[in-house]
Amino acid sequence: MESIQSNVEASQDITRIYNNLKYNNTSDVNLTFSTDASGIIDLPERGTEIHKIDRINVHRNEIIHRSLKSHKKIEFFRDSSSIETHHASYLKFPNKEIKVDSLPAEITPFKLDLQFSKKVENLIIHDSIFGRFISEIERNLNEFIKHEHMKLENKIFFEEDWEIPDYEKLILSLNFKGIPFKREMLLWKMINTMVYERIKHIILYSSEEKVRRIKELKKKFFIKLEM
């Protein structure tokens, strides 16, 4: 029996449940989703009977997640790439019916733990333009993981180019865990687009002096996918 993925945080909303099911074989079973006091949704294994956790009478007015309506039936229809959300947040996906128990769901976004090499740290401290460049990348990565509900390991460091030793590259290395290669590539492309768009934006709205430096950094900057 294939387990979908355990303990998906309620805060990650219905989109992630959708994604979970989308990338797994679908079958016509009814699934019941419930949350515990910590607001964690357990994604049930296929074919197993799920016992609902009794609702706990806690902070009902603190329910942040509007999509988690009390025992609302959420239907999934096959071949729909769009997610329709209106009030009760209905998702369309293959013949599945999911009941979501309502409990307060504290939003606990994924935390981005961006690692810097010593050299990068020193430059952040001593070069404010470099610091700004790096913080914009961080801002983008945070927006990305918030939007895509992705966990990723990443670090920023300098790397010598083995073909041109004088040329030092600034590398953002990404590592998505447990994701099919095709999807990894897609996410990498998305991050590339987002980050470079952001850099373009900074260039557009910076003073001349800053523009020169940011353009230099842009030339050195690469986003690498860890395999």
Binding site: I124, S128, S135
Partner: protein, 309 residues
């Protein structure tokens, strides 16, 4: 490793007339705890940890460690703000704090050089300001410490001229001055002496809250308290800034005095009914403008509630 450092530290402190190794051990534990909270991104707890360090340094009469605590408290407050409003850039911003804390730690284990501490604090204040700026501010404002100095002179003169109004418990002069100082420092950067003035006024703002509590239920602070707790410090800060004096030991003694008074009044007058307002105003007195609610008002509200019930 810590044991080795501790031995080293003990030797250094023996030279500095600190003869009780237990004292050092306690302060070291407080400091290490404080650093751990920073590493774990728990900045509210870091603020609590720095209060412990501050309090213990008062009990143990260690003025140098008090300065360490005051600086770390300010660092904690900065990161509370970044964590709340700019979490998207927390990792980059933490690089600045990490460097400063490492430097403070080294300084501490080597016997505390006050001047280096102040230098570290100034460097931190200047650099972290970049992370407090919004996107447009980053683009528009450039470093101009000359302008900062001019404004500081003006605002401190204004502060001195109006210091008597501090007697009125509804007076927002300290928070007003602190607000201007923070804005100017953030947008135009600052030099060492401005960073020092900022830290004094920040602690003075906290002390002021407790002086008001001490004078409850009066609407005016009595003359003796005004002279003992407020005027003396305002005069010191303004005079030293305008005279361009940077006597680190004298400055440190004054800061210690403010801290000591504030902590003593905290023990005496931090009654449960004011708990709700005190921590907020302690954390960011200028960024979050907390109206000073005299205990009388709180008392009146409580009475009203009781009657209604």
């Amino acid at each position: 490793m810590i044991k080795e450092k501790f031995k080293n530290l003990k030797n250094n402190y023996l030279i500095a007339n600190m003869n009780d190794s237990l004292d050092i051990e306690i302060l070291t534990q407080d400091l290490e705890y404080c650093i751990k909270t920073f590493e774990n991104d728990n900045f509210s707890l870091m603020n609590v940890a720095t209060n412990r360090l501050m309090e213990n340094s008062i009990f143990l009469e260690n003025k140098e460690t008090f300065l360490v605590a005051a600086i770390l408290k300010d660092i904690a407050n900065d990161y509370i703000g970044i964590f709340q409003y700019k979490r998207n850039i927390l990792n980059s911003a933490k690089v600045i704090g990490k460097k400063t804390i490492t430097s403070i730690k080294t300084n501490y284990y080597n016997g505390i050089n006050i001047e280096s501490l102040w230098q570290d604090f100034n460097e931190f204040t200047v650099k972290i300001s970049e992370f407090h700026k919004d996107e447009l501010e980053s683009e528009v404002y450039k470093k101009n410490t000359e302008f900062t100095s001019i404004i500081f002179e003006k605002i401190l003169k204004f502060f001195e001229e109006n210091k008597e109004s501090l007697k009125k418990i509804h007076c927002t002069l300290i928070n007003g001055v602190l607000g201007v100082i923070i804005r100017i420092m953030k947008n135009h950067s600052c030099a060492l002496k401005e960073s020092m003035v900022y830290l004094y006024i920040k602690l003075l703002a906290i002390l002021y809250n407790y002086v008001i509590e001490k004078n409850f239920p009066e609407e005016e602070i009595n003359e003796d308290d005004y002279k003992e707790y407020l005027e003396v410090h305002v005069d010191f800060i303004v005079k030293n800034y305008l005279n361009d004096s940077l006597d680190f030991n004298k400055y440190n003694s004054e800061l210690w005095e403010i801290g000591k008074q504030y902590r003593e009044l905290y023990f005496l007058f931090n009654t449960p009914r004011v708990v709700a307002k005190a921590p907020v105003s302690e954390i960011v007195p200028a960024l979050v403008r907390v109206p000073i609610i005299p205990s009388r008002k709180i008392g009146e509200n409580e009475e009203k509630e009781e009657k209604e019930n």
